[in-house]
Symmetry: C2
Subunit: 228 residues, 2 copies
DNA sequence: TTTCATTATATGGTATGCCAGAAACCACAG
DNA sequence: CTGTGGTTTCTGGCATACCATATAATGAAA
């Protein structure tokens, strides 16, 4: 046996057009403000195939996948439309999120290393709940990272995958969420409690805190966010 | 305005070949014992298109959707393969199931009607934990129905949808699960407790019982079920 | 007989063309 | 002006043909 003599990089495998088109379309849909009034939700196959410089075949396969994922709806001989989620559907997504992230928190208390849990502090301690007003933008990002981190700590790939899929849908509504400072302040307190529960390996408590935290968001969206 | 003079039935709309092929393939994969040794996992596009009597185009679109769903894997210029889930992935699915069904139980205590909850008795009381041996087959079906019923009681369509998708994968392993009578007996006891918690609108307890019940299954599969 | 290079074949990937249904447009009758 | 029937056009659905690559088959050289 000859030992590796070179640092071999996998040959850059060019993905199929279908796959790349899928990614491109998904990114484009995510970037689009689909909840704005008068937003164009229709996708034109031929126009897209021209823009991408490919034929309709791989494009249609990518669209079929997006349809399966629930991002677009293909109506025979009528058109292809970006799906706008209803408020009820968004609320259901947050509910599922609550179920999954709370389970993730429980798992994290069982499998995560102390170091990994300690690392959460970098995502929480940065923000003082008093001076939160001036850092709403950064906080919003850190907030997302915090929840993603907990899910990652669980070690459960499937939870990561599903919540990531949900996030794709929910992020579109995020730009509509009013981050009033009071909510942010209480949110930080919640986060600190959650970290503490994880550190003390209190699975029950961690699960409950995460669930309640996310259900608060659900409540908030239900009350204050208006779609259409 | 002319009143309806005829009883008009909506025209039976013929679904697209893509859609029907998707359903047919999914059913075929589910019916196949993919975990048996030597099972043929490869799908041949051209052969399938001949069998279905359609061209490769709609077939490929259906396959693209199945790939998105994780049922098959398409390897460029190598072939299309039915995906066999690993044991670790099955365990993750059961974990997610536990998270979702326990949340569903909690929701059910908040939104389900008394009548709907009472209806669960028909799925539980039928089986006496003493005489369970002779009715394992029926019990297995009732068991599935019971869990599906709880999820339905939550009123959360998304939970129903996701768990249904998981079931598609897990059912293939079901035929490998040894239903020894002891597990079935304890399972029935669990079910009765769950119904009671739902009836008394004890959300915390219902959630916990469902979670623990499903995690028991997880534990069992981890210990006793062998794949490959 | 074995090995390796060459060739053939099989298989998925992509492009193209035509078809059918739906919507938009238009003209003409009332 | 209005409503109705017909025609055009637009759009997605499907079939077919060809392409590129991976694999199998073949055969010549060692």
């Amino acid at each position: 046996m000859v030992k590796a003599q070179l640092e071999i990089q996998p040959i850059e495998e060019v993905q199929s057009l279908k796959s790349r088109t899928y990614d491109a379309l998904k990114a484009a849909i995510n970037a689009k403000k689909i909840y704005d009034a008068g937003a164009e939700l229709r996708l034109d196959e031929r126009a897209l195939s021209l823009q991408f410089g490919i034929s309709r075949t791989p494009l249609r396969e990518a669209l079929a996948q997006l349809e399966q994922e629930g991002l677009v709806r293909i109506v025979p001989r009528r058109g292809i439309f970006i799906v706008r989620k209803t408020k009820a559907e968004i609320l259901e997504m947050i509910t599922v999120w609550a179920a999954l992230e709370s389970m993730a928190a429980r798992l994290a208390t069982e499998v995560a290393t102390d170091e990994a849990i300690a690392h959460l502090h970098t995502l929480v301690d940065t923000f003082d709940s008093d001076a939160i007003e001036e850092h709403m933008g950064e906080y919003s990002d850190a907030n997302i990272s915090f929840h993603a981190a907990i899910i990652a700590l669980s070690g459960c790939k499937l939870i990561t995958e599903i919540t990531h899929g949900l996030f794709t849908h929910v992020r579109a509504i995020r730009q509509r969420t009013i981050f009033e400072k009071d909510r942010a302040r209480r949110s930080i307190v919640d986060h600190k409690e959650i970290v503490e529960a994880l550190e003390t390996r209190n699975g029950e408590r961690a699960e409950r805190l995460v669930r309640e935290h996310t259900l608060k968001l659900r409540q908030h969206v239900e009350q204050f966010v208006q779609l259409n």
